[in-house]
Symmetry: D2
Amino acid sequence: MESKISFKNDYSEGAHPKVLELLQQTNLSQEPGYGADSISQKAKEYIIRATKNPDAQVFFVSGGTQANLLVISHLLKPYESVIAADSGHIEVHETGAIENTGHKINLIPNINGKIKGAEIQKIVNNHTDNHMVKPAMVYISQSTEFGTVYSKNELQDIANCCKKNNLLLFIDGARLATALTSQSNDLTLQEIAKLADVFYIGGTKNGALLGEAIVFQNKRLAEGFDFTLKQKGALMAKGRLLGAQFLALFQDDLFFELGFHANKLASKIANIFKQNGYDFATEPVSNQIFPILPISIAEKLMEKYDFYIWEKLEDNMVTLRIVTSWATQESSVDQFIKDISKNLG
Amino acid sequence: MESKISFKNDYSEGAHPKVLELLQQTNLSQEPGYGADSISQKAKEYIIRATKNPDAQVFFVSGGTQANLLVISHLLKPYESVIAADSGHIEVHETGAIENTGHKINLIPNINGKIKGAEIQKIVNNHTDNHMVKPAMVYISQSTEFGTVYSKNELQDIANCCKKNNLLLFIDGARLATALTSQSNDLTLQEIAKLADVFYIGGTKNGALLGEAIVFQNKRLAEGFDFTLKQKGALMAKGRLLGAQFLALFQDDLFFELGFHANKLASKIANIFKQNGYDFATEPVSNQIFPILPISIAEKLMEKYDFYIWEKLEDNMVTLRIVTSWATQESSVDQFIKDISKNLG
Amino acid sequence: MESKISFKNDYSEGAHPKVLELLQQTNLSQEPGYGADSISQKAKEYIIRATKNPDAQVFFVSGGTQANLLVISHLLKPYESVIAADSGHIEVHETGAIENTGHKINLIPNINGKIKGAEIQKIVNNHTDNHMVKPAMVYISQSTEFGTVYSKNELQDIANCCKKNNLLLFIDGARLATALTSQSNDLTLQEIAKLADVFYIGGTKNGALLGEAIVFQNKRLAEGFDFTLKQKGALMAKGRLLGAQFLALFQDDLFFELGFHANKLASKIANIFKQNGYDFATEPVSNQIFPILPISIAEKLMEKYDFYIWEKLEDNMVTLRIVTSWATQESSVDQFIKDISKNLG
Amino acid sequence: MESKISFKNDYSEGAHPKVLELLQQTNLSQEPGYGADSISQKAKEYIIRATKNPDAQVFFVSGGTQANLLVISHLLKPYESVIAADSGHIEVHETGAIENTGHKINLIPNINGKIKGAEIQKIVNNHTDNHMVKPAMVYISQSTEFGTVYSKNELQDIANCCKKNNLLLFIDGARLATALTSQSNDLTLQEIAKLADVFYIGGTKNGALLGEAIVFQNKRLAEGFDFTLKQKGALMAKGRLLGAQFLALFQDDLFFELGFHANKLASKIANIFKQNGYDFATEPVSNQIFPILPISIAEKLMEKYDFYIWEKLEDNMVTLRIVTSWATQESSVDQFIKDISKNLG
């Protein structure tokens, strides 16, 4: 039944073989529990080195929603809120996880999944007294839920606004690998680590079985986070499992190679649409692309391939969401391209 | 540095080789995310079969504290409380996770880690009006935090009291494998599944990399639990990882074999203390044993072995906690026994 | 300093003299605490009679935000959400009180402070799986935050949509008195009590020192609400204080008379703007009116009167919010009208 | 039916006549809402003067449970806990209000309603890592739930332990008036204000219709508390109502006179038991006394008087709780004493 090739998401397969290998190699060594193991320690060192911030504090957790609710509830006082795009993952697809920890999300209408400093400033200006929440954090995703990537200028603009208004900047990096290896990217991991007060590096969608690496800029922000982890059920007994994912990804350049691979294949697919004169809902620059097609062609493709119809448009047009990953095979993409060409032609 | 043999806990190693094998075999098949994968489906079927309750609803989560907070917050109204032993894991070692979801724990002084129906009844009787919380659930652990195991009569007594007072019965089975394979056990998995409204089967401490299988007795109790999972950050994108753990444990008798192995080795260690006339804080019947020794002997043993000093007693005596697991090697135990004998003699 | 006449809000004065009289008369009788007093009992009977629903369950609390957070957190499961206008009090002016109890608010862009069944239906349709909250309640205000009043048809449309989608309907009646006595009103208190699953009758803004009367349609909805009251700090030791407010308001027609008075004076003020050709942001039908004036005239009036500049518009125009109450004196209004005429002329 | 004279509690009557007078006098002046009124400002000044701490920050709320949950949830981080006596009001009689805000209560077995520094230290010592909550506050009541009063030495001992362990000290003063005017008291209001980081002054049980005055020692502790008030539904629109209670109580010595009156009458009742050789569960020093009598005599007295049977003891003895208040009439007490004498004799 699962015989169609899937471009539905970037978590359809297990782990990159190097992750499984490392699990295998380290499997029977006795290690302390709850993240105090030597594998996690090594992985953290690699990440700290990669961010070039020796003060950075790294914690591994199992998934993105968990990372988001942990970080936000840890850093905000009960009456403080987080500002986000109305397309932000915390707003749209986390079953009210943030509100369930007690915090309101203040929304900004997104433009291609992004927000700007000026819009953040407006929200701050509108929150004038104790009858409203007190905005204290900005949440953005890199790459965004619409596959776009903030440029250095755009991120600097947001960071400046945060600094000026005493807001923390939190970057959801569930898809950070494809952002950092996007053709349109002009930001390094070090720059992101410098501009964000806290961010996380997604493993789940980039070759790991599970895992996100939360990186706080300093000890003050991370203080007590080990208590928060345990209290919210996020502290894994065999923390080595999480450590091994990130050790495999960061002890050489695997993390970046996998992101690059996903982007390259997405780009190949995007080009075939472009060449045939089709448009996109957002500029295709990472591993999620959103071509706009006649519904008849989409349906034809869906006979052999899995992907989401993202939105129904006027005139029998639809926006698709097509996602590639570290595990996508070039041969699958080539076949897809052939079938696209045939149907578009 | 980690060169001492550790009897500190049952989560020092990775996974049983069969678990890793299964991960390897299924690694590159494309599967739907968030628990809808075919591996998880198969694992659930094996568990449902093992409980002999076709109405059972099974959910996989990553750890014990997470399982506890999910189940309790899912089933209680805001003003309802859960009754537990004062030695219960939710009371002592979960950083206030239950209270953080809004619920009070009503405590019963434990006897060897256990509670009784009569004590539960007293608490119910004392909660008479709306100035107090409304007890609505009983939480027990099997095996308990002190290594003891509820007998069928004892569990029936608690279940009767729950039924009579309209309380839900929730069994924390983080160490259910060693309970079910204890020499003193007279309960089957089916009986536990029948007496409990909800319980979970621990994987983390019995051969899995991670994972607990929560089993609700019927659909009504489980209604909306998929929302609860997502909202609390417990829904894993690659649910197949959790499914594979339990498929490996339950597609044959591995789950029970591993529990039996741990118990057998613990029993061997217990016997050597018994033979030398030493006492235990609680009767040693599962994989956690609590011998009472002179501190001088304990310190001698700690030069070569890792375990916890559980409690300091009078007259320079201490209670140790010694834990075996599925991964404990018989040769390590034999060496330990030899060293114990030498020191006790 | 407080010498300007204030049209800023409807809670600037203390209580209607009849309320104080009743407090005085009953002051030294010994009564049980926590709402079990005979004064509260009598007040509840009057309210039940007025709603013509003998199954109604009435509870008194101290204020509107408290009423909102109590009702919503009482009736929703953790993963359920409430649908509201983006102008709704719970969204805009309650410091995230609803989110602080764990619940998301799903927003509908308001039209003159109102929402429609069709918009509610869209939200329900968009919430398709467990990655999103589950809408379970609709919150509206009568009269609305913009002074408008739902007609019978409009309310019936919302109630139908709720019924069809299994949503609870909750009406915030902080200003129910001015809604029920509005010139444009075609709804009775009995009809509101029948269409809403739960609503409250505002005392604070209609002659009481404090107090809102929450009315559940039946026992099932109210079950355990006495526990919720206590747990959230809303159960007043001297419940008689709240009971006395509503006994004074409902033992004769005082509640309606006071609403009528506020509306009549607001209408007088509205007419003078209309006569001079000025427009309103929303149709002026209750005790809050929103005339649109040149800023120069607004500033002139602010020398002698207090009111809010609600919004700055283009072309040096502003929207004012002018509020009357049970305590507004006709002579103050007449003087205000004279000054308006002088400045508009 | 309410014809028996009640010694059940200290909130059976309305307000002291001077409170009602002040409400009457100020009733129709226009005042800003939400606590910004001139009456509340004046009341705060009197309280600040009485505490002799010009940095003190005062907030009025409606009741004791509300005050407790506001202060505790405001000052603790999510994973921090509050230490209290197992007889503490927050533990026993607030329907899990503290847990509902997310915080665990660490219990100390009370001795006559009190706790000691040494016991607090033990709890701190036992909380060693992130698998347990982090104690961050101590909660005590003055006078206690058993009518006893901490001496200066006892309070200093607790405060010293708090300082040493970086714990905040919070004093529940719902019955502070009777503590400060107890025959056994050696503490001034100023000393309490100096030793506590935050405390509150009870109005409800000492002559007010409602109201507790929360006093933070400085601005840093109170920062954002106005947001907390609004978010938890505790900010009253007509804050003047609360201000007036405390203005009446503190503009002269009324607060202390009323406490003295209650104590004096309780003492009169206590003496008659003492003279007849009866014992008390705790030393009778404030307005709550706990004499131990044969159940037959208690039942005889209950024919004409209302009070609680606090506890059933062996040998047909019971502990009563008898409570006097500012409103208790000396004639009622004299009659009670006569009836006691008759029955004891």
